[in-house]
Amino acid sequence: MPVEDPELVDRLRAGDQVAFATVVRQWSPAMLRVARGYVHSHSSAEEVVQEAWLGVLRSLDGFEGRAQFRTWVFRVLANIARRHGRADERRNAELAGPTVDPARFRDDDDPYPGHWRDDAAPADWGPEPEMLAAEFRAVLGRALDELPERQRVVVELRDVHGFDGEEVCALLDLTPANQRVLLHRGRARLRATLEEALT
């Protein structure tokens, strides 16, 4: 994700069409994924993103620069998506519990309690090219779609779209600790999915 141009807002206010076209192309993919957290279909998400950009255009002159412009755009998006969307169902979906099956670790009566059992330790995934195969990309993409909603959005913004943690906290209104928990649980679930597919 390129660093935000500090003069971007001025250029948009001045009617710079290239700046607007560029920013819409750069940010819309991540906006679509955030919108998908609120609405049921891809086409509804497209409508939400379009409406968000129109909302941004309407209130551009009122933007005061207290937040990063991109964060502000995503907040406009979230407000519109909430109005469109299913309510905050699944909000508290699993934030507790282990991310690796406890049965893979040794019992308390073992000399090394809590260490990997020999027959359940993670096995090598083999050469990296394997991971790049379209087949595994498809497995990963499907598993990502199936994560609990907040885990999915955090993992997508961080790992697919390259946002940093601080910005994700700002635009999803998360504490840093919660953001890390969601990221951890989502990544761990996806690792487990790849493990099943690769070993």
């Binding site: 069409q17 809590g114 993670p122 991971m131």
Partner: protein
């Protein structure tokens, strides 16, 4: 000071905080001491990193061209 002992079952839950730079220095030392000795956890960490890298290479969806065109038209109208 010798870093505290961390079992694998605990270590796997510390890895995102470790990768995020969110652990205090004594916990970083404990994680790294464990990783030095434990090949299975090094493999697990490598798999977390491989997962993250694979996520970074997923194709992303974008808006249809017609929507871009409408947005650009709205932007031009805003100036009119």
């Amino acid at each position: 000071m010798t870093p505290r002992d961390v079992a694998c079952i605990e270590l796997v839950e510390l890895l995102t905080d470790y990768l995020e730079g969110a652990l205090p220095p004594d916990e970083v030392a404990a994680v790294e001491a464990h990783l030095d000795l434990c090949e299975a956890c090094r493999t697990y960490l490598a798999q977390m990193r491989a997962t993250i890298a694979a996520l970074g290479r997923l194709p992303v969806e974008t808006l249809p061209e017609s929507v871009y065109d409408e947005l650009l038209a709205a932007f031009r109208d805003r100036r009119a």
